[in-house]
């Protein structure tokens, strides 16, 4: 049994740097375009000459500097608040060694502790339980030390111990392969402006309603926000292209390596898939009612988009970042028979 996850780890490191660089580059590029228009006289010059004037700081490129700073701050925010951003919009609580409310929660903590030993991780990840009925799980963080594992209540309730073990083994493999770092950067950086916009948008709507003011100024801002709401997902598409579907296969393989058994993971995946199929309508409502769900979709063990549950109608929904269940089961050595159709 040999899966070369160290190679995957190195490729993830490279891709993370690429994602961060592209992110800064996009912002700087947009800033540069704005600069070409806001400085009087520059738009009359040939483009090469105008760029030269801006890049040699003959005229200070304010917009470029401002947007680059925003990009840098976004990255810092991602590092500082990654756990809260990844759990944003959900109702959750942390489970620790001495703080568990039921036997099941204790079992979850125990299972993670066991597999931490199996995976040879040096740090115990933080454990969060999301209060939701759908079955899903994800891992995040920018290093092994900062890692977190989040499980929904539905998953904890509906899986047996061995299946839960398999799901946790899958998540800990993501931590071990440094997938979490890349997924975190790609999903948070591509969405951070959208999140900021959403928060601004809400304050403007609710703010103007409560104050009952009708000035034109707010209308202008609203149009810009709506425009950005459609343009920003392009960044999402660009950055999530770096999330290869291979990472899910690798994590599945890693889970089998830790469990020495392929059946529990296959059973768990089928259960999660079937559960989403039976409760499709109900879950679609819950997923859509949960704000900022798109931040997590790349990190989830099961991508709800595959069930046709779209996330807030953004164009990034077209691209699933996960391989299909049939492909995953085949890689695990099982043949998937779709019985429901």
């Amino acid at each position: 049994m040999s899966i070369d996850w160290r190679k995957q780890l190195r490729s993830n490191e490279r891709r993370t740097y690429a994602v961060i660089s592209i992110f800064i580059a996009i912002y700087a590029f947009v800033g540069l375009i704005i600069d070409l228009y806001i400085h009087p006289g520059l738009d009359q010059l040939p483009i090469v000459q105008a760029l030269e004037i801006l890049l040699t700081f003959t005229v200070i490129p304010i917009a470029t500097l401002a947007l680059s700073t925003i990009a840098a701050i976004s990255i810092l925010i991602t590092y500082a608040l990654y756990d809260r951003i990844m759990l944003l919009g959900t109702e959750y609580h942390e489970i620790t060694l001495n703080n568990h409310r039921s036997l099941e929660e204790q079992q979850l903590y125990n299972v993670i502790e066991e597999l931490k030993i199996a995976a040879g991780l040096h740090y115990m990840p933080k454990v969060y339980l999301i209060e939701a009925d759908y079955m899903n799980a994800f891992a995040s963080g920018y290093s092994e030390k900062s890692a977190l594992v989040a499980i929904t209540h539905g998953l904890l309730n509906k899986l047996e111990r061995s299946e839960l073990q398999a799901v946790i083994a899958h998540e800990l493999s993501h931590i071990r392969h440094h997938d979490i770092k890349l997924t975190l950067m790609a999903s948070v950086l591509s969405n951070i402006m959208l999140i900021a916009l959403d928060i601004m948008f809400r304050t403007i709507i609710f703010g103007s309603r409560s104050r009952r003011r009708s000035d034109n100024n707010n209308g202008g801002i609203a149009i810009i926000i709506i425009l950005l709401r459609f343009l920003l997902p392009i960044i999402t598409v660009l950055l999530t292209l770096y999330l290869s579907r291979k990472r899910e296969f690798m994590a599945d393989a890693g889970a089998v390596e830790l469990m020495r058994d392929n059946a529990p993971l296959a059973k768990a995946l089928i259960k999660i898939n079937d559960d989403h199929m039976t409760n499709k309508e109900a879950y679609a409502i819950v997923y859509n009612a949960t704000p900022h769900e798109e931040v997590r979709s790349g990190a989830y063990i099961f991508d709800p988009k595959q069930m046709g549950i779209s996330m807030n109608q953004s164009i990034s929904s077209i691209f699933s970042t996960h391989p299909s269940l049939a492909d995953r089961l085949q890689a695990l050595g099982f043949k998937y028979k779709n019985t429901s159709k």
């Binding site: 204790q106 125990n110 066991e114 030993i117 199996a118 040879g120 020495r260």
Partner: protein
């Protein structure tokens, strides 16, 4: 390029390669040592868990009195073997404790009162947790032994091991069941 330069470059390449292999092997040896310690940590933990566990179960049945003595005796045996460096004897003593753990879980199944008891359920989870941790620690250890052995016995690498036997040649036994134990387990049949 003169022959001397080529010769020097060749020596430099071989030296660099040796250093890399040397470091890699040292790394594998230390990883194995670490995993071995992890097993000790888990064994120690298990002993404590079982002690407190049997204290609780004792209230329900006197059968456990003998089991407690047995666990203590096996533990002493394992510690003695560990101190004298007798790995295989130690392994068999610890495996015997594992079996008691499994039989304790069976006891739970037989007593409906016990099964309904919330504390007992918690303890049952504790047994599963403890045994799993131990199993995974053994698994990690055996994996690291495998990696070390495969590397140190490979062609070319084994030459380097021959040059530095003190530093690079380590005898790590796989953690497994002994031959007699395997025999009894193979012959085992369920008696109803």
């Amino acid at each position: 390029m003169s022959i001397v330069t080529i010769f020097i470059i060749a020596i430099a390449v071989v030296a660099l390669w040796s250093i890399m292999i040397y470091n890699k092997l040292i790394h594998l040896i230390e990883a194995t040592n670490n995993n071995k310690n992890q097993i000790d940590v888990q064994l120690d933990r298990r002993y404590k868990v079982y002690e407190s566990l049997i204290e609780v179960v004792k209230k329900y049945m006197d059968y456990e009195q003998t089991t407690l003595k047995e666990v203590v005796a096996l533990r002493a045996q394992a510690q003695k073997a560990s101190a004298s460096g007798n790995q295989s004897e130690r392994v068999s003593a610890e495996e015997a404790i594992s079996k008691i753990g499994a039989s304790l879980n069976l006891v739970f199944e037989q007593y409906p009162d016990l099964k309904a008891d919330k504390n007992a359920l918690q303890l049952q989870e504790e047994i599963v947790n403890t045994e799993n941790k131990l199993t995974f620690a053994k698994q990690s250890y055996n994996d690291s032994v495998e990696k070390y052995k495969a590397k140190s016995k490979s062609l070319f690498e084994s030459f380097l091991v021959g040059v530095f036997p003190d530093k690079l040649m380590k005898e790590f036994p796989y953690w497994g069941v002994s031959d007699e134990q395997r025999k009894t387990q193979e012959d085992y049949t369920v008696k109803m």
